[in-house]
């Protein structure tokens, strides 16, 4: 792992994070793509670099470490699949709202503004009655 690779990965992560913190799903998708690029840079960078790991030609020492490559390949493919799904989601969102904006959760907003619907579960008025403490006025003068 050279400083350059670490820096590149860090850069990708930074930019990706910046994009992910936005509201347009297509931007978020791009951000995630950059993040996973960053992760793959780390992955590939975690092994020795060298010639393509195809044995039989030359010594094994000069070969690049194949395992991180395999792992990176798997993760690339997986993130591809999920990205496809996410794009489908953006498409569906467009079908429904003509935008790919990520809206806030309505229920959360409702609660944030109005609080739980039945705070009066405690039933203050009933309780006052039950307490059965008649008010002073009923006392005959």
């Amino acid at each position: 792992m050279t400083v350059l690779l670490a820096a590149t990965a860090a850069g990708l992560f930074g930019i990706g994070t910046y994009l992910v913190l936005q509201r347009k799903l297509s931007r978020i998708i791009i951000g995630i793509a950059l993040l996973s690029h960053g992760a793959n840079v780390l992955m590939v960078g975690s092994g020795r670099r060298g010639r393509a790991p195809i044995v039989g030609s030359g010594d094994a020492e000069s070969l690049a470490d194949p395992l991180p490559q395999a792992l990176a390949l798997t993760s690339i493919v997986i993130s591809f699949g999920v990205t496809a799904l996410l794009l489908a989601l953006a498409y569906r969102s467009w079908l429904l709202t003509s935008d790919d904006e990520v809206q806030d959760d309505l229920e959360d907003e409702r609660i944030a503004h109005r609080g739980a619907p039945d705070d009066d579960l405690a039933g203050s008025d009933e309780l006052a009655e039950i307490e059965g403490d008649p008010t002073g006025e009923e006392v005959e003068p």
């Binding site: 990706g16 993040l35 780390l42 991180p68 959360d108 609660i111 609080g115 739980a116």
Partner: protein, 500 residues
Amino acid sequence: MTALVTLPILLPLVGAALSILFGRSRRVQRTIALSTLTAVLGMAVALLVEVDRHGPVSVQAGGWPAPVGITLIADRFSAIMLVVASVMLLSVLVYAIGQPGAERNHVGFQSIYLVLAAGVAAAFLTGDLFNLFVSIEMMLTASYVLITLGGRLEQVRSGMTYIVISLLASVLFVAMLAFVYASTGTVNMADLAGKVGDLPPGLRSALAVLMLVVFGIKAAIFPLFFWLPDSYPTAPSPVTAIFAGLLTKVGVYAIIRTQTLLFPADSRPTTLLLVLAGATMLVGVLGAIAQGDVKRILSFQIVSHIGYMIMGLGLFTVGGLAAAVLYTVHHIVAKTGLFLSGGLIEHAGGSSRLTRLGGMVRTAPVLAVLFLVPALSLIGLPPFSGFVAKFALVDAASERSSYGVMAVALVVSLLTMYSLMKIWISVFWSPATEPAPAGAAGRDRAAEPLGGPLLMVAPTVVLAALTVAIGLAAGPLYDLSLRAAADLLEPSAYLEVVRG
């Protein structure tokens, strides 16, 4: 033995493939799914017995020795989780088949559900960190599909949150794997267990914390849980139920597994864990109190109860871990049961909003019982499963004289009771304050004396009975958990089996 460890993963995969091929006939698909999951359940039980008798069982995929090939391994903990998981998968599948509605009829449902099953099983059985990543991805992708199946607006909205957050977790996971491989040159857990010790302390605890965060997002611990209460309630109830039961628990499993197996005692984030546990319990239950919708209340409670499991881990004593294991089992059963009965409530009442439901103790007495039993169990009332689990936790905490988290645990169970009784009172006692949406409500009760279709009620009954059974049989179960916990804290057997 090899079969027992591998088939719980492979059978669902084959089943999924088949049911994709037989997409034309729902009947065939259901038969495939039911038979597969039944078989898996059988094997899981057999595996548990075997493992409990003769210690961990492991298989090297492709016959390649440990660090080269992928290790599949089952010890007591994973076997226990596998058994519970397969019970849930099976009963929820039956429930889903019984539930009227579009989603479960979708071509994809059965196959995706099987993929989910495979993913969960693989996550429990793998002994390889990268394979754990892939297994969790398998499970998650299935969950993405299930949660958005039907493509309603709120599903799309919450689906975005859910998928994006999970993807972030996955990215962090890959980064973490890269760090691990860069420093140790291996991703096999048993192999790592030996090598992580040689790393400088700073890096070690950094890795420990990063793993905690990565799995913590999936387990929905504070402050990483926000996605859960927003996304779960929008899915169809069977889906929500299985998510509630299993997905977060896979995260918990991964946390417990990695923190105990990979890291030596000195680099375990004990205090951090306990603090997070307390915060998770509190914030979760407060959220539950603030909600006005059955499914949302239940979802927030998931978060709060994850806190209990993390607490058990954070104690890092045999007692604490055993309590955590028992609690996890209990919570999976009780919570899934609650969500199933929640689905029935929605089915019978036409809504899941507290204000729109009411008086159901008269209109649907069976549901009242089916809700009350798991609810009481979750609160921790005897003789249900929750009581023993919770007491075990509190006992362990006090034994280690970590009184702070113990107090939180007690207070939170009171608040849990409050939030659940809120449901009970508004749904079953008091009359509805708003009219239910037209058409949705008012199913003819004569047709459904049980309060729902038989296939929906039956699994719910089974789970309710199960919580009682777990409570009554708590003695042997707790002993089993103790053994599992001992293995976790002293994984020599695990390591030997893998290293051969």
